[in-house]
Each structure stands twice: as C-alpha cells, then as structure tokens.
Symmetry: C2
Subunit: 319 residues, 2 copies
Amino acid sequence: MTSLSIADVLAAATRIRPFIHRTPVMTSEQLDARLGAHVFFKCENLQKTGSFKARGAHNAVYSLTDAEAATGVVTHSSGNHAGALARAAQRRGIPCAVIMPANASAVKKAAVASYGATIIECEPTLSAREAAAAKVLAATHGTLVHPYDDCRVVAGQGTAALELLEGYPDLDLLLTPVGGGGLLAGSALTAKSMNRKVRVIGVEPALADDTFRSYHGTTRVVINSSATIADGLRGSIGERNLELLRKHVDDVVTVSEAEIIDATRFLWERMKIVVEPSSAVPLAALLNGKVPVAGLKVGIILSGGNVDLDALPWVHAPR
Amino acid sequence: MTSLSIADVLAAATRIRPFIHRTPVMTSEQLDARLGAHVFFKCENLQKTGSFKARGAHNAVYSLTDAEAATGVVTHSSGNHAGALARAAQRRGIPCAVIMPANASAVKKAAVASYGATIIECEPTLSAREAAAAKVLAATHGTLVHPYDDCRVVAGQGTAALELLEGYPDLDLLLTPVGGGGLLAGSALTAKSMNRKVRVIGVEPALADDTFRSYHGTTRVVINSSATIADGLRGSIGERNLELLRKHVDDVVTVSEAEIIDATRFLWERMKIVVEPSSAVPLAALLNGKVPVAGLKVGIILSGGNVDLDALPWVHAPR
C-alpha cells in the first residue's frame, strides 16, 4: 500500500473514466471576498452514487481479472462505499454482497438494494461486521473491497484531486475531510506528485479526532464510535493510510459540530448545492480561521451529497 | 413589447455577459431512464442572486443612459426580482429603491439590503405597492423596472434559453415555469427564433392557474393571491406577455402542490442541487405525465434556488 504511486492513480483514472463523472468545480465570489482567497470546490456530491466513493469502488471492481470478478465482491459499510461498490458491481455484471448493520438507515439500504446488491444484516459492531464478511467470503470465494484500507480504493480516490489539479495546477493548498483516510491519502499523494509546492491538510470533526491524534502523536488512535453529524467521518484512520499521511500530508486540524453545521448550511444556502455534513468539514476550517488562507488559491474536495432530507443538520442537530 | 424580437435578446446577451454566469446544464441518467427521454436542466439556481431574474434586471439597468441611470431604479417585488435589481444597481453604482410588503420574508429583505438598496415597506396589496412606487418615482425621477411587464426584462430573461439552445440546438421541447410570464415569453420568443421545430410549454401551479385560464380562454384572468408553495409563480400573467405567449407558446399545463413538492425533492435528493419549488414545476409536469416526452430531447429552465432552509417544502407543506 505504502508503495502506492502516482502511476497507480493515473491508471485508476484511465480505468474508471467510462463509468464516473468528471465532476464540476464551483466557486463563490461571496466566500472569496469573505476569506480574501480563491476557493475551488470539486463537487463530488455530483458524482455517480452521490460521493467520491464511486471512484475507488469502480477502480477496485475493474481491477479484477475476469476470473476474480466472477465470484463477486464483498464489503462491510453502512455508508457511501456500500452504494458505490454495489453500483460498480452492477455495472460490471458481477455479484456484490454488502454487510450492513441492522440499524443502518433505510435510505442507504434502499440505495444499495437499488443497484442489485445482496444485503446481509449484522449487529452494529466491528467484530460482527468482520465475522459476517469472513463468512460470506468463505462461501463465495469473492473479493473483499474494504472501504478505505485497500490500495485500489485509495488510488481511485486520488483521481478527484488529479482532476482538480489538472484544472488548477497552481493551487497553494488542498483540503479534504478525513475519516478512514482513503480520500486524504490518495489526494495528498496525487497533489504532491503534480505540484511539490501545494500544501495538503486534512480536516476532521473534533468528535472523531482519531486521525488528528494519530497524526500528531506517535501511535495510531482508534475510536470505536462517534456521534459526529459528519457520518462519513466516524471511522478510524487506516494503518496504511496513516503512513501515507505522515509522508504526504502537511497538517491535520479539527472543527466543532456547530462549525460543521454552519458550513453545511453555507453550501446549501449560498452555493445552492446539496452536500452531506462530511463534505463541509474543510470549509468549516476556513470559515473559522483554523487554516489561514488569505491570498491563497485553495482547493476543497466536497466529498458527497447523500443526506436524509427529512432530518436536516440545522433542524435537530446538537449545537 | 410585442414587437420584441430575437435581436433584443441577442443584444441583452452581449450587454449582461460581464455581470452574470453562463450557468451549467445538468442531466440525470436515472431521470432519463424513468422518462425514456433526455432532459437538460439549465441551472439558473446557480445564477448570480440565485435566480434567472439577474438576467432581466441587469439588462434593464445597463440599458439606461448615464443620465437615466443617475436617478436610479425602482421596483416593487417581494421576491427574486428585488434582489436581482438591487445587485444590478449596486454593480452599476446607482441608487435602487425596492417597495416590499411589510410581511415579506426576513431572508429576502436581508438579501436586498445586502446589495445596498433602500427598502420601502408597504401594505401587502397591489394598490399599496403601486402607490408607494409612484411616490418614490415622483420624488427621485428614477426609472421603474417592473418584475415582468417590461420589454428589457423579458429580453434579458430570454438569454437563458439562448444559452441552452446554443448548447443543445436540437431540443424537441422546452419547458419553463410561468408566473408573470417574463421567463416563458422571453424563452419562447428565443427558442422559436433559433429552432422553428421546438415546442415550448409553460407549466403553472393549479393553485395559481391564471395563465392556464388566460391562454386557453379569450380574456386575461387575474388572481389576486395564491397560496401555492411555488412562491415565485403567485403573480398574474402580464398583458403583453400573454400576447407573446399566444404567439409563441404551444401549450400551458398545470400541476398540483403535491406534484411540485415531489419534483422539488427529486431535484434535491437525486440531483443534489438546491432549487426553490417554482423551479420544479416543469419537472412535476414530466413526472406526472402532463406532457408526453418519450423519445424526446427536453430542455427545462430551473428558475431559482432561493428557499428558506428552515421551512422545507416537504416538512410542513400542504399535500
């Protein structure tokens, strides 16, 4: 994994091109005036399946040989990776099994089912998930595609930064949210390969600050559960991803729940796009001075747009 | 007004180009599969000030001579035209006065104020609005820029269809929402001038069906107030716009409140864009079979994205 290189990202870009969107980049004059900066948002909320996860999932599925593919793919995820892998498998015409906790949201289960995947419910613990996955893998001889601890997935996630830097090669700064670290690791590797001067910073909810503590400390910190509203970022940093972060990432900072909610609302209200709270975490850092940006060109990857429209962040969320 | 021609729209396009966005066009594979059609959404929700109204307002303001401009512009509007005119006036550096009903939303007043316009409150009746406007005009010798009954405004609104047809010249069908008729009249004039074969259809809430009844009847019907959730479409069709509709528009159809809400939610949930309910009215017609589209290339102008995020359509709206 840690031998992952820009060549893997470039290969992923070619491999997944027929199946995903080259998503647009949006800007806000109002935001730029407020920050005294130029901010470029890479809109992965407009990606197939509603998040950047489509990139890594399609790269993994289309990396398989026909023989490997024939036995299908398996993952455990309650979130965007599940839908992305199900869609990639459907597109290739191979079986997909997703282990989901019994308490996963009905909306997310419906999305996975709509792509024709088999859903296997389990208790909402990591050990139950892993045991259920092992059982399916033993029965099907399929391939596990982990949500973030997988080099094919990390290489695929790097293609969003690749597209962004192709359009804006002179970015001073690139920010992404960080959960398991696949997006941040892939983005940092890619950005540094394209422009050695670009600084790369990961932003994390303070309520799920395993990466912050791991990156700034000496050992990997694992958090078993978090109530952060940024539900895509509740997972803990992968061990191999942490190695990549130490190598390529310049800083990791955290933001509060209230800051995340305000930034989410800014994106909906001012930029007229639907993003999930996880997407708004890097903007929250800018709006609250956690990362100085005056005079800089800043790229942000908006990670996804899958949100329950019956339970909006600013309506019932903790402040 | 009824002598308005494509030349006026082309002149408007040139005039306003420095001040507005050339908005993107979005598509949805999922929607296309459901309808058996190709639908192209012109995203005026991503326009400056959050709606297509920026087009007409900037065309009007920049059509003024320096002498005319010096005394400023005046309008009466509680909605998107008010913010658009205020922004255009601020951009040109001239005074702007907006007559708003005392019960207009705080969000909309704040938007107008943020562009430096003077707000004059009045009772929420048409006669009070007109009396207040007359008083301001007498005092300032400014220029009235009506929200839709103004040829400069209609020509400006036509530039959205111009851009859409430039990109997709072989559309079979173009749909827009209809309130006062400026967008529909300008779009129809423009589309028919560019491609005689394109059919143009206006879509209106059944709760505000003045245009439907006017177009299909012999006299202009005026509705004094409507409770439709599509708050941009509560106004009645302008007399001159009705003439243009009779000349250039192929049909006017209506949709229910529940159909509007469902279509709004589709655009948020599936296409990840924030639109106001008025924008979703044409899609509501397609989703409910009010306009047959199988096999066709269909353009829709999404009119705007200014919505109160504390009061979402599907949370408290009448069904």
